[in-house]
Symmetry: C2
Subunit: 406 residues, 2 copies
């Protein structure tokens, strides 16, 4: 997998997780990066979110992330601990504290074990001196909580090189790499769970373009994801760009489009991985909404269906119980015309003209029994669309969450 | 259990349910009743809802209810079937079709088996001729779907008798009796599951007062209930008053207050029974919200907490994981001040001043391990309150709903 030039990433175990798994990760660039961030809209913002929102105004050298403890709902002490984490990075990585972003995920309401954090950062700093230790996969592992899979995605493309002639150009290779974690407490409104994603690129790009590209990407991806409708106090997406690709600065136009499309694709793929690995999930469900009067309506209908426990349990049970989908659309609160609604499992229409169709039950069951289930909803009222991603709802979700803290 | 004078109720098996359980019930009064009704706000209103909303403008003699088939999303044919059901009552009970209310609950998207309905109504009509067959409990059983308990409640009180002197009065005995069903697809917004409730009284009362009393009662009870946030296409509450108590007409003032309070108590008790018997539930959870700026905020916060799968699974696991409650409050979308929020399990405060308290974990666990768990949320921003009722979330809910249709 491609990894952008000039970045170092690694994850190690520092003792927060009792099972010995990696629990602290760093993403570091010697060259200063411009950075863009998206955060939870939960009123109770975790301490690391508060500290990172302040620091992101500066150039960034490092992101430090721990799992196993969210440092959320921890009052003034929580903020001091998050700031102190940046201070340890300052000392160990020889960068300024104000140039560090911090993120946490895990149990809410517990204080950060600062001795362990300090130990972990020292380990990471030590590994930095060995180039073989550059291990993006380890970094992606270090941010996991109840995740069962590592979620990474990358993309490589060419944009014009700095000072390159228009004709005969070869361009500069730009790489974007991203990782994400999260499997419960997920409905990001970054706009979520603790949903964390860290994206790195070596592109040369203006801060304005970086922010715009991230907003576009997040709106089509993480913001269209829901596992259980619970929005976390810690959700964070960071995007760093360190200019190592030496391309002509990306700002608007065709180059922006290329960058933006690649970034969006990475975020959509990470979003699908998150949905597939939703707590206890056995399937990825994609709600394709068409024919809405506006984007907001389209997303809202998709979210209500995606969050319906009855729809999610029916899909788990391989049951083409479309009535639950129609009922969910009907309570979504947007103005719809009942006789215009069309509902299909993939290409099998099950409901239109206000009544059931005579659909082949066996074929519908086959579609629903697959690992990826597309539910198509056409409101037939306009031209706007949305794709919302979720998973099925299983007994394992209950098992995981009835015993998470203990 | 007291039952109002002049009403006949019974439930029998007519063949809709495969397991032989009762699946059709009638509530009948020879004397015409004034009636009040509350219906689902889902855009896809089931055929019986559409027909009943029309008929309720008239005096009412009977409510006919079937379980096992919701007659929802069934188009024009569904409405014809619901009307035909009223026609059968007309024939068998010697009342006019327009004086009949109809309700259905069960699988969405299937047509009513009219032959079975007809058979059932004949059985019910036959039983009417035997006074011993007056069986409100059978009627309450006939409306059950995944319910595991019969839900009935009654109340008896005195109001002035017609023409009675103010002094030395003994008054007339008035009885209110109600039943309810519902255990999944429940978040009434009557306002939703299929949540059905039928309430009968022998009071003499004006139509205006009857409507007002029902609105007040439903707002404090069924509208404060959520099992899984799914609002049904069929939710219905009917209240019939047949004047058999011969009291002085209830309209406003003290007599209205007595009637209204008794009705509200019945609806609240039925609501608690519904929450306790939520699909797969092991506990009743009451969210007591205090200190809200307005009623709507209070209810909204209560509903978001009550609908949080993470809160509900934690309570199932006997885990005082209060962070999930704080996170749910924080995403509720109402304006709150984080440093003012106080969260308690019963009398044990776990969070205030933006940080955890040092609470006795064992005692908190004891509270959460009980069959009834009170979660107290004080926003400390105003004087409005709300109580919201829900249940814990268990593996059994998944089992029930992954296989409901099959």
């Amino acid at each position: 997998m491609n990894f952008p030039k000039g970045f170092f990433a690694n994850g190690v175990h520092c003792g927060i997780k009792k099972n010995g798994n990696k629990d602290i990760s760093v993403f570091y660039s010697k060259k200063p990066c411009i950075a863009a961030g998206k955060y939870t809209k939960n009123i109770f913002k975790a301490a690391p979110v508060i500290v990172s929102r302040k620091n992101i105004k500066n150039k960034i050298h490092a992101i430090i992330v721990n799992s196993g403890c969210a440092n959320a709902c921890t009052g003034r002490k929580g903020i001091v601990d998050a700031e102190h984490t940046c201070d340890i990075i300052e000392k160990e990585f020889n960068v300024k504290s104000k140039n560090v972003l911090v993120a946490s995920t895990g149990v809410i309401g517990q204080y950060l074990p600062m001795d362990k954090i300090s130990k972990g950062i020292k380990k990471l700093s030590h590994s930095l001196t060995f180039s073989l230790s550059n291990s993006p996969i380890s970094a992606a592992q270090g941010i996991m909580t109840t995740d069962t899979t590592v979620k990474v995605q990358s993309s490589e493309f060419r944009v014009p090189a700095k000072g390159e002639a228009r004709k005969g150009r070869q361009g500069s290779k730009v790489t974007i790499w991203g990782c994400a974690k999260g499997s419960g407490m997920i409905e990001p409104t970054l706009g979520g769970a603790t949903m964390l994603s860290f994206i790195l690129t070596d592109a040369v790009i203006t801060k304005q373009a970086l922010n715009k590209a991230l907003t576009l990407a997040v709106d089509e991806s993480f913001n269209c994801l829901t596992v259980d409708s619970d929005t976390s106090t810690n959700d964070t997406v960071f995007l760093l760009a360190n200019t190592e690709a030496k391309n002509k600065t990306i700002d608007t136009g065709r180059d922006f489009k290329i960058f933006s499309d690649n970034l969006t694709n990475i975020c959509v793929e990470l979003t699908k991985m998150l949905a597939k690995d939703g707590e206890g999930a056995t399937k990825l469900i994609t709600i394709n909404v068409k024919g809405a009067r506006n984007k907001s309506d389209a997303k809202k209908v998709g979210k209500v269906v995606a969050n319906s426990p009855l729809v999610k349990t029916a899909i788990f049970g391989n049951d083409a119980n479309w009535g639950r989908i129609v009922a969910a659309v009907g309570r979504s609160g947007i103005g719809i015309k009942p006789d215009k609604l069309k509902v299909s499992f993939d290409n099998i229409c099950v409901f239109k003209n206000s009544k059931p169709t005579k659909f082949p039950e066996k074929e519908a069951k086959k579609i629903i029994s697959e690992k990826e289930v597309p539910i198509n909803i056409n409101l037939n009222m306009g031209k706007e669309t949305a794709k919302v991603y979720t998973c099925d709802f299983t007994g394992k979700y209950i098992d995981i969450n009835a015993s998470y803290r203990t």
